[in-house]
């Protein structure tokens, strides 16, 4: 199993993660009051999973979760945004080694690192890639899709900053801290 890219745990994390992503993206969405713009809590969850299980799990949870959510609730996947969900999950996952959440501490330094990374990653994803793909694939007017990207991306950044950080803190606390056992003399 060692030289295998996907351990059983990662596979299951992808499956269950995608299912939770679907449900959160459908039911735990908080409207801001402006039509069609929501705080989508599923991205907070995606960030958590990416940090805990790494880039491949993060990318595939975003990809599979978003595609399934679109398919079973809205009839057809909106491919350009599905792809970006995958990219965001993957890129956030790249810091998982550095944050090393399993060690059980999520201090201010790691918190800042996480948020800087998530903001950069989501800016690239939602402000740049998603609208450009919309223009390229669906030939929609550029100013419309860039504004949509700005709004959705901005909200997702806030969601991940608030909920993602909160979830990581809670998760870290539920792990046993490394070095918490002291050998008695």
């Amino acid at each position: 199993m060692k030289n295998n890219l996907l351990s059983i745990k990662t596979i299951v994390a992808i499956g269950i993660g995608a299912a939770v992503f679907v449900i959160l993206g459908r039911f735990a969405v908080i409207p801001t009051g402006v039509p069609n713009t929501n705080f989508d809590t599923s991205y907070g969850f995606l960030a958590l999973m990416a940090v805990v299980f790494g880039p491949i799990a993060g990318g595939l949870i975003g990809l599979i979760g978003h595609a399934l959510k679109d398919a079973i609730f809205y009839g057809t996947p909106w491919w350009s945004w599905v792809l970006v969900s995958g990219i965001v999950g993957f890129l956030i996952g790249l810091v998982s080694k550095k944050i090393n959440i399993e060690a059980g501490n999520f201090n201010v330094k790691k918190m800042i690192l996480f948020n800087v990374v998530q903001i950069i990653v989501q800016a690239i994803g939602w402000f740049l890639i998603a609208p450009s793909l919309d223009v390229f694939i669906y030939a929609e007017p550029a100013n419309k899709v860039y504004l949509q990207g700005m709004v959705a991306g901005g909200l997702n950044m806030v969601t991940v900053a608030v909920l993602g950080t909160l979830l990581l803190g809670i998760y870290a606390k539920s792990r046993s801290q490394s070095g918490s056992l002291i050998k008695e003399d």
Partner: protein, 275 residues
């Protein structure tokens, strides 16, 4: 909370009898055509063909009406948004301007704009029946087997199968947690202020996520015990062998793909210009 979702509808029809692999390949061909082309002639043909397929699949319109209504609503908003943001997009694309009537400034309505937006809408109409059909006529377990068959690693296919299997479970968990939190007086509805609502949502999401993480642990242990992932290949209970009709269908769709690409790219651009 009883929100409807698209799921497999078991029925006897030629579409149901096709193997999952065939349907997956055809669906991918179909969406790539609909993504690429803006050629009205092709879009109309594809749309009529998908209606035809929908009829022979014996899926009743009533069964998918909730999704259709939602999509129509979304398309309407999208169309309005396109018009508000870029009322002269059509003129830009087709290079001419036939004014229908003037409404001050850049919001003048042109035939080109109407034609462009009709094409945008038609594009969705083309892909929606196919996508819905694909979802309601493919058994979820067979879908995972099909993914593996077209070359996706069986580990990832299995992850997709797990996701499909656990969506109803997680939905039930979500409902249970949400109801018990509501019984404790936590309000999720729009009566609360936005900040409070976010906090209250967290009180549902956190238990849901923690219980799901436990699930991951349990399921992966069970799979480990059964020796999942030991071999290079895996057989699927739901996989079915190809029949003659599958081969014919795939050939037909490849032909449609080639013809569409040829017609679309024949005049050097994705748009059909009648002006």
């Amino acid at each position: 909370m009883a929100v409807e979702m698209l799921s497999y509808i078991d029925r006897q029809s030629p579409i149901h009898r096709l193997t999952g692999v065939t349907k997956l390949i055809c669906f991918m061909i179909w969406s790539s055509i609909a993504m690429l082309t803006y050629d009205t002639r092709i879009l109309v043909c594809l749309f009529l063909f998908s209606i035809f397929v929908f009829i022979i699949s014996k899926v009743k319109l009533k069964e998918v009406a909730f999704v259709l209504l939602f999509i129509l609503f979304f398309l309407m908003i999208n169309n309005v948004a396109i018009y508000v943001f870029s009322p002269q997009e059509g003129v830009k694309i087709y290079g001419t301007s036939h004014v229908l009537f003037e409404i001050g400034g850049r919001y003048t309505i042109t035939i080109e704009q109407l034609f462009y937006q009709m094409n945008v809408t038609l594009k969705y109409f083309t892909v929606i029946p196919a996508a819905i059909l694909f979802i309601v006529t493919t058994n979820p377990s067979e879908f995972a087997a099909s993914l593996n068959r077209i070359g996706v690693s069986y580990r990832i296919s299995y992850a997709v199968a797990l996701a499909l299997r656990y969506i109803p479970d997680i939905q039930r968990d979500f409902r249970n947690i949400s109801l018990s939190q509501q019984a404790r007086g936590i309000d999720m509805s729009r009566k609360e202020k936005l900040t409070k609502r976010i906090k209250n949502a967290a009180s549902i999401i956190v238990p849901l996520i923690l219980s799901s993480l436990d699930k991951i642990e349990v399921i992966s242990n069970a799979m480990e015990l059964r020796g999942f992932g030991k071999n290079k290949k895996r057989s699927w209970y739901r996989a079915r062998p190809f029949q003659k009709i599958d081969v014919i269908t795939i050939i037909l769709f490849v032909l449609i793909l080639l013809v569409s690409f040829y017609v679309t790219l024949h005049d050097g651009n994705r748009f059909y210009n009648p002006f």
